[in-house]
Each structure stands twice: as C-alpha cells, then as structure tokens.
C-alpha cells in the first residue's frame, strides 16, 4: 500500500509541476502582452523614436548569424556523428564544443569586441555582431546536429548501405530527413537565443540604428530590439516615454519569437509528412 501511496503522491507532484509551468507561462504572457500590446501602434514603429530599424536589425542579424553558423555547425555536427572515428582527438573536439557551449555570452561579446571591433577595426557593425553571435551558437548547433543524427536508428543506415547506397546518398536521403525535426528544434533554439541576445550585441553591433530604413549594409551599426529594450530601460532618454517603449518592445519580442517558431515548425511538419507519407495507422 505504501508503494501505491508514493505512486499517487509522485503523480500529483508531477502534475502540479506541469500545471505550474503552464500557469507561469500564462501569467507571463498576459502581463507582458497586456502591458505592451496597447503600445504597438504605427507610431511605435514609424515614429521618430520608432523601433522599425531595431526590428529589422533583429531579423537581419539573426539571418546573417544563421548564414554564418549553419553551414559550419551542421557540417561539423554531421562529421562528428557520421564520419569521425572514435578516438582521443574526436573526444577532445567533443569536450571543446561542450565547454564552449557553456561559456557565458558576455565573454563571447568581449571576444567579439576584441577581434571584430578592435583588431579588425570594424567598429560596431551588424557583421561583427552576427559573426560573434554565430560563434556563440556554433557549439550548440554542432551538438544538436550530432545528437539528432545519432538519434536516427542505425538500422536505417544499414538498410540503405546494404541496398548499395553510398554514405552521401544515405545521409541526404535517409538520415537528414529523419533527423529534420531535431535539427529544426536546434535551429529554433539557436534563433531564439539570437533574437534575445543583448550582451554580445552591445559589445559588437552597438546601440545605434542606421537612419536609412531597411539598411542592409552589414558594416553599419545595428541595435536590435533586445538591445533597445535594455538601452531604454537602463538609460532612458529624456523626453521619451521610456516605460511605454520598453513594454511595447518586450511584447514585440515575444510575438517575434512565437511567429518565428511557427514559421520554422510548420514547414518542417509539412516536409516530414511529405516524407513519411500519409500517416494513417
């Protein structure tokens, strides 16, 4: 009977835990969105203190950092999962990526500032910011890629190779499509981090916005929304309604992240379904 009671107790505790998560999320969304949504007017975007530039920069930096980090991260992850022999050296690589993944982002920011801003003499630029963000995300990408590929059953590989497929065909036609959900999750994680990152960007991309709307010059300084939120809150400009701008920015950030996740998840679901065929079990 004791075991039975313990079981019920554990079930209830776990249930309460999950409920708490949902409750926190709802509270969080209602608070932030409730305070911020009313400020999301056209003026908020296009006015003299509008965040149109920051919004654009956020996505632009995200895009550039993904362009820089995805090929390398995916490539390295695939290599580690499929091709790398198991020896001391690859163990060392794995250890290094894991250590890098846990380095505080502000340290990366400092590193980016030293390298891109000072050594290369670029000053605060979108390019420098993106490159540093890419560095921050690289270890995570490598790890996520490796893990998702490793999660693909060995039997798929064997089946494919036994049919006379090459390693590359097997990778392209079987392993990567199967690992896709995992990879998408990894990319979403990385993208979320990029959208929310401040420490790195303050040091590398600066806190200024180009006056030209939708300025794609990567050598311009580029304040993102998250940085903007930080700036407005920590150092309110006189004569502006800093609190309102901050609330609006926060709400906007959340909406961005949600929209972005949906944009990535839905096509991947669709792609998987097409791969799998109609799944009527």
């Amino acid at each position: 009977m004791k075991a039975h009671q313990a079981d019920r107790f554990a079930t209830i505790m776990l249930w309460i835990g999950s409920l708490a998560i949902v409750a926190i999320l709802i509270a969080f969304l209602t608070l932030i969105l409730g305070r911020g949504l009313p400020h999301l007017t056209s003026e908020f975007f296009n006015g003299p203190d509008g965040v149109r530039g920051q919004l654009f920069n956020s996505f632009y930096i995200l895009f550039l950092s993904l362009v820089l980090s995805l090929p390398v991260g995916l490539g390295a992850g695939i290599y580690m999962a499929e091709y790398a022999p198991k020896n001391k050296f690859t163990d060392l690589i794995r250890l290094s990526t894991e250590s890098l993944a846990s380095v505080p982002s502000i340290v990366f920011g400092l590193f980016g500032m030293i390298v891109f801003v000072n050594m290369f003499g670029l000053g605060f630029t979108i390019l420098g910011g993106s490159a540093t963000l890419a560095l921050l995300n690289l270890p995570i990408l490598v790890r996520v890629t490796e893990e998702s590929l490793r999660a693909v059953p060995r039997s798929y590989r064997e089946a494919s190779l036994a049919l006379g497929a090459t390693m590359w065909q097997t990778l392209r036609k079987v392993i990567l499509p199967t690992a896709l959900p995992g990879l998408i999750t990894g990319i979403t994680l990385v993208a979320g981090r990029a959208l929310g990152e401040t420490a790195i960007l303050i040091f590398t991309a600066g806190m200024n916005v180009s006056r030209i709307p939708f300025d794609v010059n990567p050598l311009a300084a580029g304040e993102t929304l998250a940085v903007h939120l930080f700036a407005v809150k920590s150092n309110p400009l006189p004569g502006t309604n800093a609190d309102q701008i901050a609330d609006g920015t926060a709400a906007l950030l959340i909406i961005m992240v949600i929209v972005f996740n949906i944009c990535l998840t839905l096509p991947s679901r669709w792609l998987q379904r097409r791969q799998l065929g109609r799944n009527k079990v």
């Binding site: 022999p85 198991k86 059953p153 039997s155 798929y156 064997e158 089946a159 494919s160 190779l161 036994a162 049919l163 006379g164 497929a165 090459t166 065909q169 036609k173 079987v174 499509p177 199967t178 791969q275 799998l276 065929g277 109609r278 799944n279 009527k280 079990v281």
Partner: protein, 250 residues
C-alpha cells in the same frame, strides 16, 4: 552451380578471432541456413558476404570469398555494385520512415532510375514478388511505419528485390515476428528460392529445417558441420552438432 565459394576465411575484431578458417560453397538457387548459438560467428559470416562487416572499424578479414568466381575482397571491387547484387534483410524490420512506395523505390532511385512509370512498375513487381502487393496496393503512399511487423519485413524484402539482387542474405528475419508472419516469410523464402540464392541466419532450428536445402552449424567461430538439411537434422555426423540441435548444449 556454386554461386558462392568461401575459402580459408579468417576474421578478426582487433585481436579477437571471430571466424576461423571457414570453407563452404553455396549453390545457385538454394537456401542455406546458418545455425549456432549466439556469438558463434554466423551473423558475422553472413555480413562478410556483402562486405557489411567492413563498416565496423578494426575488422580484419583474410581468405577468399568468391561470388560468381570473383573474389569480393580483391582490390578494386566495387562495394556498391556488390551490395546491389548481394542484398540483405535484417533482424528487425527496418523500413525507412517514408511511404511504402518510396521505400521500395529507394533502391532503384539511388541507382539512377528516374522514370516515374518505370519506378511504379518496379515497385509493383517487387511488392508482388514479396507477397505484399494485395495488402498494400491501396495504401502505397501511406507511411511504411504504419504496417504490421510482418508486413514491414516483407516490405524490406520488396525493397531489396527492387534493386535486382541475385543473392539474398537474411539475418534472423523472423525473430521479431509472430508465428503467422513467420510462416508467411518462410513461405515467401521457398518461393524466392526459384530465382535467388538465399542464405539465412536463424536461431530457430525448426525454421532452418523447414526452409533450407542445406544447413551449416557454427560454433565459436568454427564451421563445425555443413550438410543436406534433412541429414543434418536427423543424423548429424558430429557430436557437437547433435548436442546443439537436440538442445543439450554444454
């Protein structure tokens, strides 16, 4: 005619010898069963025949494996072509997470077939040859993972037949299946025998006795005895074989 001739085959995992001076010949269009306790080397041996064993690092293979008179371990052997000719069915059904159609079309596609009509034909014949067509013809574009275990295994056989092999290696193909599915696969094996040379590893001695023409008994890396199945199971020549097949091992 002998399709496969193995001569003085030794295989090592690192320093550990897993196959010891194996010599055996397998006739065209016949079923050979490999039996023996776990770890006796029968699966290892099976995997040397399509060079799947090469995938494991630190494996060292010596001796000859001739298929149609060609040593498959000779330098310059095209492993891709070899595996097209020598297909393999695994212990657990392992269809790809794709549709039934795409599973069967996979092999022809990677070997360069792009013509849609031709692919459909190949898929249909292969599924028919694997005795699965009637069960899946209305759900070709549904996920293969929705099929039952036995159907999945027959799908794997169809997928294999689609690349046009001559030899089928089966590594305990029914050990994960229920008795009815097992019987269907066994029935299929005896039909496929008319066209293919089949080598099957099985833990189930009754399966070996039912499906095979010849049976080979492996024990700790040695080929102990190989004979006509009916002889091996009623009056084996070696004491070790007798002990194993009558369940009085050790």
């Amino acid at each position: 005619m002998d399709k496969i001739v193995v001569n003085k085959l030794d295989l090592f995992y690192g320093d550990q010898q897993a196959l010891n001076n194996i010599g055996i010949a397998m006739k065209e269009r016949s079923v050979t069963a490999l039996i023996g306790p776990s770890g006796c080397g029968k699966s290892t041996f099976l995997r040397t025949l399509n060079r799947m064993q090469d995938l494991i690092p630190s494996v060292k293979i010596m001796g000859q494996v001739k298929i149609d008179g060609q040593d498959i371990y000779a330098a310059g052997t095209d492993v891709v072509l070899l595996r097209k000719k020598v297909g393999m069915v695994f212990q657990n059904p392992n269809p790809f997470p794709k549709s039934v159609f795409e599973n069967v079309a996979y092999g022809p596609r990677i070997h360069g077939e792009t013509d849609k009509k031709k692919l459909s034909e190949i898929v249909e014949t292969s599924l028919k040859d694997a005795a699965l067509w009637n069960e899946v013809k209305d759900r070709l574009h549904e996920s293969a993972l929705g099929l039952s275990g036995g159907q999945q295994q027959r799908l794997c056989i169809a997928r294999l037949l689609a690349v046009g092999p001559e030899i089928l290696l089966m590594d305990e193909p029914t050990s994960a299946l229920d008795p009815i599915s097992t019987m269907k696969i066994e029935e299929l094996i005896s039909e496929l025998k008319d066209k293919y040379t089949i080598i099957i590893v099985t833990h189930n001695m009754h399966q070996a006795s039912r499906v095979s023409d010849r049976t080979a008994f492996f024990l700790s890396g040695d080929l102990i005895e190989e004979d006509v199945t009916s002889v091996l199971f009623t009056r084996p020549a070696k004491k070790k074989t007798e002990d194993y097949i009558s369940g009085r091992f050790g």
